[in-house]
């Protein structure tokens, strides 16, 4: 018990200390978080009318980010799996950082759920026993279950590992390894269920196909590692902690393959839908070319296509993917491309046209942008703290008894 309080104290003491750069970064995020809190208050006193959503397009920026971030959370498995299944040296050293990323991403997802809901004050209605939990019928019920489970699994695995490093105890592999394996499979489940959430609605032909889960997984395993590569490069440049080249190179390979698969799946969908060009392809057609003169999403779609294809090509060029000065460029491009394709590009056309043929457009408001930005800021705030603490422990700068 005394060890535990010391751990908490040491951890907090360490993450609160930092240079000017650190405080500036956290302060900037803090400003965005305060802005987010204000618009969240506004949204819950005025109602969703302050957003651009309507009864026709009733899922927008929030839902899009939610879907995308579930993918980022699942993407952490691209570190954990090679680390434990292939005993990859470089990955094993940083596996815990992947778990920290997963925790931050799931927290962001939870916040986007709150942002999305019309009545967040009634969330307790979903809790079993005091509320009603429509399980196993409701896909959203499944989603809440797998996301909560994933958060808990990663928190246990990550912090138990750090705790052992801190105290110097050996890891109890008897229960730690099974938990790690469960977490790996669980990572696939979170994104699969999120895909099912929208692909099980025949009312929305744009989403109603069985390719959705694999496409989600492929894009997630491209976008997630992109973010991780960026984080690793920042860590290498700004801390004493050294992430091995081999880890970054393996992640680059994973990104390239998954990006290629994702592009292939997108192309397949386009061919299947547009060859027959039924009424059910209207959503995709709206996204690609516009419908009845409404073309809001067309530049977004083509922007995403260009970003994804060109980043794929860049990843294939050895002199770029092995040059860690240039590597961030395709990473940012792929991340942005997938954010568009899987977020706005997937969610919004599901509602255009509506099931009775109405075509309207969606304009996210300032409130929505600020709230979205604020939640991302909060996520990065948490991520910075978690990564800093984890690195401190891995480096041995936080150690039991060392503070005395």
């Amino acid at each position: 018990m005394q060890q535990l309080t010391r751990f908490a104290a040491d951890y907090v003491g360490y993450v609160l200390k930092g240079g000017t750069k650190f405080y500036a970064w956290m302060g900037a995020l803090g400003v965005l978080i305060i802005g987010m809190l204000y618009v969240f208050y506004l949204q819950n006193t005025e109602g969703l009318i302050v957003t651009g959503m309507t009864s026709q397009i009733h899922d927008g920026l929030y839902f899009a980010n939610l879907v995308f971030l579930v993918g980022v959370a699942a993407g952490a498995v691209t570190i954990v799996f090679p680390a434990y299944a292939y005993h990859h040296e470089g990955m094993h050293k940083v596996a815990v950082l992947g778990e920290m990323l997963a925790i931050s991403a799931v927290i962001m997802v939870t916040m986007f759920v709150f942002a999305h809901m019309g009545r967040p004050d009634r969330l307790w209605h979903m809790l079993p026993i005091i509320g009603i939990y429509n399980f196993p019928h409701s896909m959203l019920g499944w989603d809440v279950l797998v996301l909560t489970g994933y958060l808990i699994l990663n928190a246990i695995c990550g912090f138990y590992y750090l705790w052992c490093k801190y105290t110097g105890q050996p890891i109890n592999r008897k229960w730690f390894m099974p938990l790690v394996w469960i977490a790996i499979v669980w990572a696939l489940s979170i994104h699969t269920v999120t895909a099912f959430l929208i692909s099980t609605m025949p009312a929305r032909p744009m989403w109603f196909h069985s390719m959705m889960p694999i496409r989600f997984i492929a894009t997630a395993f491209a976008a997630g590692p992109c973010l991780i590569i960026l984080a690793f490069l920042i860590i290498r440049n700004n801390t004493k902690f050294w992430v091995d080249d081999s880890a970054i190179k393996l992640l680059t390979t994973i990104v390239t393959w998954c990006l290629g698969i994702a592009l292939f799946l997108t192309l397949s969908e386009v061919v299947v839908e547009l060859y027959a060009r039924t009424e059910h392809a209207n959503g995709l057609y709206y996204l690609m070319f516009g419908l009845h003169g409404l073309t809001n999403l067309v530049p977004w779609f083509w922007g995403a296509v260009i970003l994804m294809i060109s980043s794929f090509v860049l990843f294939l060029i050895p002199s770029i993917r092995n040059n860690f000065k240039l590597l961030p460029i395709p990473c940012v491009m792929a991340f942005a491309g997938i954010w568009i394709e899987k977020g706005m590009g997937l969610i919004v056309p599901g509602f255009i046209p509506t099931p009775i043929g109405e075509v309207t457009e969606y304009y996210p408001t300032f409130v929505e942008w600020l709230l979205t930005l604020g939640i991302w800021a909060f996520g990065f705030f948490i991520l910075t703290i978690l990564l800093k603490g984890a690195i401190g422990i891995l480096q041995g700068e936080i150690k039991y008894g060392a503070a005395k």
């Binding site: 969703l48 309507t54 009545r119 429509n134 959203l140 019920g141 809440v144 009775i356």
Partner: protein, 363 residues
């Protein structure tokens, strides 16, 4: 329940006064409860946290009563899990709040499904003239939000206008590709007989228009409703007598049901509904037309406040051409049963296996 008579449509002012005089419930035992509500509530006040606060709210005569009632509403259970006593209490709480808010005696009916009744609806699309009186009657009857901003105006019935389309001789030889054998004919995109490519923002000087037909759509009250399956908190469900209803106090506003509905029948209250006092219909049902709140989903419920008391839904009553028919599917003598027996009927998007109890038919 057998619906025999079609009550003629009356002007709005007249109808409002008639509604006021109506008892809140047809069930005498429930009416009796009203007089002794206060004593009754004292006795059952210990039932739950919500009971405690609800009672407190009812006892207070202060201005804070409204806030206290709303506070108590936060903690009430899902409607279906409430005991009869809790239902009575929730009802009393609502009646009190609404009466205060709208400055008139508002009743909140809690009459349940009647035995031997399965509601059904049939619409003669041959007869519909697209006048949209049903839409307006529905808004007036069911206390929908009247606002002028796009997100504040809610209508449950959509009347789609469909063009008759024209086939032209001039396009006979044209199409795509030109010359080498046409694969897409020049007349391919004429919208004749096309369902679901309609427009509801039509605004002609007079209806019916020569070049159009009309197709009204609202909630189909499916027997296998996809919206009910996806609801994470089971706030929306199918009542025994057929309609799919929503417990507005339990809805978390996640909008999954809106995505799942193939008929786009559901609406979200983006803001607190705009409902002027003088236009508010004070005869309400708990699962039906009682005023909704910000952030919850609503939709057509076949006017439970009327149909559970042997009256027609407002849209049926107001339809000037008699295109709309409503009745008990279990009663072979009802109009709807007769239509199913004798006419050519179809269900919209039958391929989705939702099994609507709303049928379209031709003469």
């Amino acid at each position: 329940m057998t619906i025999k008579k079609n009550i003629p449509a009356v002007p709005v002012e007249q109808r409002a006064s008639e509604c006021l005089a109506q008892p809140a419930s047809a069930d005498p035992s429930k009416a009796a409860l009203k007089t002794t509500r206060r004593d009754f509530l004292k006795a059952s006040g210990m039932l739950s946290m919500s009971s405690l606060m609800g009672t407190a709210a009812l006892m207070t005569q202060s201005d804070e009563a409204k806030a206290a009632i709303e506070w108590a509403e936060h903690f009430q259970k899902n409607y279906r899990l409430m005991t009869d006593a809790e239902k009575a209490e929730a009802r009393a709480r609502l009646e009190r709040r609404y009466s205060q808010e709208y400055g008139k005696q508002v009743t909140v009916d809690t009459t349940g499904p009647q035995p031997g009744v399965l509601m059904g609806y049939a619409l003669n699309i041959r007869k519909c003239i697209g006048c949209r009186r049903c839409v307006h009657a529905c808004v007036a009857e069911n206390n929908q939000s009247r606002g002028t901003k796009p997100g504040e105006k809610i209508e449950w019935i959509q009347v789609l206008r469909m063009e008759r389309g024209k086939f032209e001789q001039g396009k006979m030889d044209h199409g795509y590709p030109e010359g080498l054998g046409i694969q897409v004919g020049g007349n391919a995109y004429t919208p004749a007989g096309q369902v679901l490519e309609g427009q509801y923002h039509y605004n002609p000087e007079a209806v019916p228009e020569q070049d159009a037909t009309y197709m009204p759509i609202a909630c189909m009250q499916c027997e296998k409703p996809p919206c009910v399956k996806v609801c994470p908190v089971r706030t929306t469900y199918r009542e025994a007598d057929g309609p799919v209803v929503i417990d507005y106090n339990w809805c978390i506003g996640c909008r999954m049901c809106m995505g799942a509905c193939p008929y786009w029948a559901r609406r979200i209250n983006l803001a607190s509904p705009v409902l002027p006092k003088e236009e508010m219909n004070p005869v309400t049902h708990y699962l039906g037309n009682r005023p909704r709140m910000r952030g919850v989903v609503e939709k057509c419920h076949w006017c439970l406040q009327r149909t559970r008391h042997d009256r027609y839904p407002a849209c049926v009553e107001v339809c000037p051409v008699g295109a709309r028919k409503f009745g008990n599917l279990l009663d072979p003598e009802s109009e709807v049963s007769k239509i199913l027996e004798r006419k050519n009927v179809f269900r919209l998007k039958a391929e989705l296996n939702t099994f609507p109890k709303f049928f379209y038919f031709y003469d």
